[in-house]
Symmetry: D2
Subunit: 368 residues, 4 copies
Amino acid sequence: MSGSTLGKNIKMTTFGESHGPALGVIIDGFPAGMSLYKEDIQKFLDRRKPGQSSITTQRKEADEVEILSGLFEDKTTGTPIALLVRNTSQRSSDYSEIASYYRPGHADFSFDSKYGFRDYRGGGRSSGRETIGRVAAGSLCSKLLSEMGIELCAYTKAIGDIEIDYNNFDKATILSTQTAMPDADADKRAVEYITKCRAEKDSVGGVIEIVIKGVPAGIGDPVFDKLDAELAKAIMSVGAVKAVEIGDGIKVSRSKGSENNDSFCIKDKKVTTSTNHCGGILGGISNGNDIILRAYIKPTPSIASDQQTINKDGEEITVNIKGRHDPIIVPRAVVVLEAMCAFTILDSMITNMSSKAEYLKDFYSNKR
Amino acid sequence: MSGSTLGKNIKMTTFGESHGPALGVIIDGFPAGMSLYKEDIQKFLDRRKPGQSSITTQRKEADEVEILSGLFEDKTTGTPIALLVRNTSQRSSDYSEIASYYRPGHADFSFDSKYGFRDYRGGGRSSGRETIGRVAAGSLCSKLLSEMGIELCAYTKAIGDIEIDYNNFDKATILSTQTAMPDADADKRAVEYITKCRAEKDSVGGVIEIVIKGVPAGIGDPVFDKLDAELAKAIMSVGAVKAVEIGDGIKVSRSKGSENNDSFCIKDKKVTTSTNHCGGILGGISNGNDIILRAYIKPTPSIASDQQTINKDGEEITVNIKGRHDPIIVPRAVVVLEAMCAFTILDSMITNMSSKAEYLKDFYSNKR
Amino acid sequence: MSGSTLGKNIKMTTFGESHGPALGVIIDGFPAGMSLYKEDIQKFLDRRKPGQSSITTQRKEADEVEILSGLFEDKTTGTPIALLVRNTSQRSSDYSEIASYYRPGHADFSFDSKYGFRDYRGGGRSSGRETIGRVAAGSLCSKLLSEMGIELCAYTKAIGDIEIDYNNFDKATILSTQTAMPDADADKRAVEYITKCRAEKDSVGGVIEIVIKGVPAGIGDPVFDKLDAELAKAIMSVGAVKAVEIGDGIKVSRSKGSENNDSFCIKDKKVTTSTNHCGGILGGISNGNDIILRAYIKPTPSIASDQQTINKDGEEITVNIKGRHDPIIVPRAVVVLEAMCAFTILDSMITNMSSKAEYLKDFYSNKR
Amino acid sequence: MSGSTLGKNIKMTTFGESHGPALGVIIDGFPAGMSLYKEDIQKFLDRRKPGQSSITTQRKEADEVEILSGLFEDKTTGTPIALLVRNTSQRSSDYSEIASYYRPGHADFSFDSKYGFRDYRGGGRSSGRETIGRVAAGSLCSKLLSEMGIELCAYTKAIGDIEIDYNNFDKATILSTQTAMPDADADKRAVEYITKCRAEKDSVGGVIEIVIKGVPAGIGDPVFDKLDAELAKAIMSVGAVKAVEIGDGIKVSRSKGSENNDSFCIKDKKVTTSTNHCGGILGGISNGNDIILRAYIKPTPSIASDQQTINKDGEEITVNIKGRHDPIIVPRAVVVLEAMCAFTILDSMITNMSSKAEYLKDFYSNKR
């Protein structure tokens, strides 16, 4: 019963509730000697910060990070890096009413069933604010991966029925569009759609795509800890995700072997595959091609219209939930999924360093 | 680099290669005192055994299990249960050719990249035969779950474009149809489709659905070890799976909050939800409704037609792979996914026993 | 490379350096519903606080704990409990000199060998201040164990050649003597001895004994995770410990089977043993008798006399280390070892809840 | 409740009971490409085999190993290595009587308390035969360590009051003396002592010392996973061990800082310490000097004289235990402790490969 730690050779442990004093994360096992500044982390946190656009919650949080340990003279020391974010915009009174009933689509009933009671303020531990720690941890991993030539790119692929047009795909716009779509036209239509749904007291879902470039072939383990299995867990562990796919994903169930197999070939003197239906992973191990994943996100369960539910006394009631809610989770979840993938890839690359006896011998004959 | 063990309070560790002396599994932490007979395990293994129908490989393997430890007077002792299956139908000569090149869609290149070489006979460790250990472990978990009133039901939902008709759904036929479809008519059409594809030297994919009834509310952990995250990992760790979804899964990305939220209600004096879009899990924790999952399976990569690839010297070549292959993996994978889910659910239920301090106090005041 | 987390079903993760902003701990998996007040934790921290007697460092630290998460309405919620202690008495200038050389008996050289550099201020992560997190975590575990009738008692057994007299043993004095000895006379002699050694610019070692009463028979696992093996790791992981023994420990190597075997007998209608040479654990599993452990602690490596060592350039030099040091670690380590044992026993008791299939069935037929 | 797996980046999982069909081990995560022959393993197993001298049990077991997986063309493949030893000398009838009562000094009562019943034949899972798997796993680790210039040497240091004379120390005799003492004279006296005790229907204990040469500085982790903490757990997890010490161990509690601190110095252009009181580990991390450990072993609990105990009905009875027992465990435990240390050191060295960000960057710029 201790599921707040993830990872093998690097571990992240998150803590904190939506309306408690603070949230944060401990990253243990991060290699020593990487230069790190508060800004490296803050930049990532700012991407998930609320109150930044017309289509997210209007609640404002500074979400400013404090580094408590693991850094010395602006370098990681190899010891646990503790990162803290204080909650500042708590209006617990907003939530006094929901203490007595179970909101549809939320974890209220699940938590009560498990623990006997819950911190009901803003969802407590089940709040999306828990992901602050994940994003903070991911920022470090992304930095180190980037220094090794590995780049992660996550963006909104679809909102409702509106999908990005891959011909209009413009990576540079991901950080500037309100939806985190890399296509200004799709973004515009999506914002209209979201605005309309919100006016109707409703919420919408969408799809996030993550592309990881530069991972060498050979990363991941062949059985339970397949690289795609670890990525699936990391992605599915983010609150509103209801499906995960790699490469062609869903589509493969309707395709034939002759269509789906990716032929190996040589490009620029390097082994690669002519197509990439498999999404860069074969047998649980990377093959050197781009790793491509997709996460399907449900509409925000908090909506402003009347809903049926039950209260703690087991009576069926009609409720109307107050509060400052996002009409869509997707744009703010993009950086969360990027963080989860960065963490998983880095951990897998570290774990892979001892795949051959020869590596171990080389390492200790050179390094000691 | 040790990804052959899965689980927290019960662990399974599989071993073995397709053409080595034997395959098997150690299950550690299984509770003591459950009656267990060889037949309980064999029954599950027989469901994945090759050579049983016209649409699987014609290779015959007895796949007979031997219990090496952990049982005394037909009861589990609480100590590791070691289960062994000898390989008997090895024709290593079939594979001598593939040592020199990388089969498209297979893990050959990934393994060589990671380990420097590989046991190329029949895929070695990346062979589907590795799942023998998983199925054996799952059979024990299913038995104990069943004694607690929890039933898992897995079946083929779709093959190519052919889907089961939920009005024709007949659970009893799962074990008798060649495709493991619970719909005799869909089965018939699917067999025709598979037979046609195989004649064209091709292979097909499909979808497996798993329904788990009877899991009490409160199982699973709220952050990284969400029940759906653990299930996603367990399912994605099975060779050919390329996507996993829970509940409405993919569809939620296009739905609205007002449609997707499941209202809590009271039925037969028990809390439940009027719909089950979420698939029985909210916030990573079961809500007492049925848990519904789907896995999307790729077409068998081994096909009898010519394919482009490279050899170990980096030369582009055309190959035609010999051997006795399944034209579809789906029917034999059904029991594998059922086993993975049974293991994950049981482990999560054990882990949940200490969610409340009160449980711990009760336990030790009654039991010691 | 992530050794800052301990435990199976409950996990503690410590963070922080001697002269960084803060130290602390995350306890994950602690059962929900136990009442907890800041004072419960502070009481334990105060037992290890510096500056409290003539024989410890004169450095003053408030060591006041802040609860950041995991508590709601004064009850544990089942989610991660984050505890923070700010460093307030940092005089980093004291340490500027030691940046350039390796102190004998300290981890300076080990850290540089591993990480390439180190936070040299006050020992950084290798400082005894790291144990603040352990003590904070232990305070919660002790409280819950106490509610289950399990009591831990740790005390100083010996300092140099001065041992407690078991006829004079007075548990009540542990918290009032400067040495944490349960014998006022031995305490007096020990303080004189320590004072004399300090005057000679030297330091001393000692022995801590821990007695755990009320652990039911059946706790612990039979192979690698034997209860005594887990306790040995937990105890040896505390900085200055150089040996661990259980029951008669060292002495058993010279005894005979006829002397060392403890006969089972019945007392007050309960199974027990007539003697307790084994220290309450047989085959790695508790037998219901008192669990008795001893830890041997080295003299503080920081002494005020001249010492030989080398600097970072590999030159042999003579150094004289400045700073405010404890002439003995033992009295302040007593509560640390008590905490480590409390944590280990509680985790093992939780882990034991699923030893029988019958327990699992009972649990879910009663509780859901 | 799954304590049969040990390790982080390599894991060993043992299985099997004394009188079940077989015992064995799975080693997962062992690096690929090391040459390995059955003889490498058998050589180690033969050192713990019964029936080899006048002072061990006269029971004969072939203890012949079979390699089931993880090897291809005499090289490790990186996938799980499964090793099996069949039980051949089972005389279960010897044990029918002990089913009804609890043997003093044995785990019978502990097992029944935990699991409700036990495989009572020969101690079942608590038998010393469980260590077969450990020794088999250790043989592989020793081989790879040896290829990196690291040598482990374990031997009997004392039996009863008879200690080896370090002036007579002759490493070459360890494998030829009956006691595994590196001193022929001490061996002779010890054999006489054991023979006399056995004639008196009694058993004796002793001390094993392990010296590990060649471990580079920097191995181990600073907090819970200190190298000495991991070694302490590994050693204490072996059945009859009741105390573990590192370096001067027990003695340090009576020494002063000025005596106990090891001065750093330069020898042959390498950093070392002039003395080695600390036993090669400082702050939980190796310092490059020899690692020196000691384990204190209790006398065999099975003795041929009458003993008091209770039966399953809670009646106090006198018993006389039949069977073929070792009058001393120490000589056969030497190779077991050597194996446990080899495993722990190798796992720690693998884990250490990512201590610096620079290592990771170098690795992936060279190796991919």
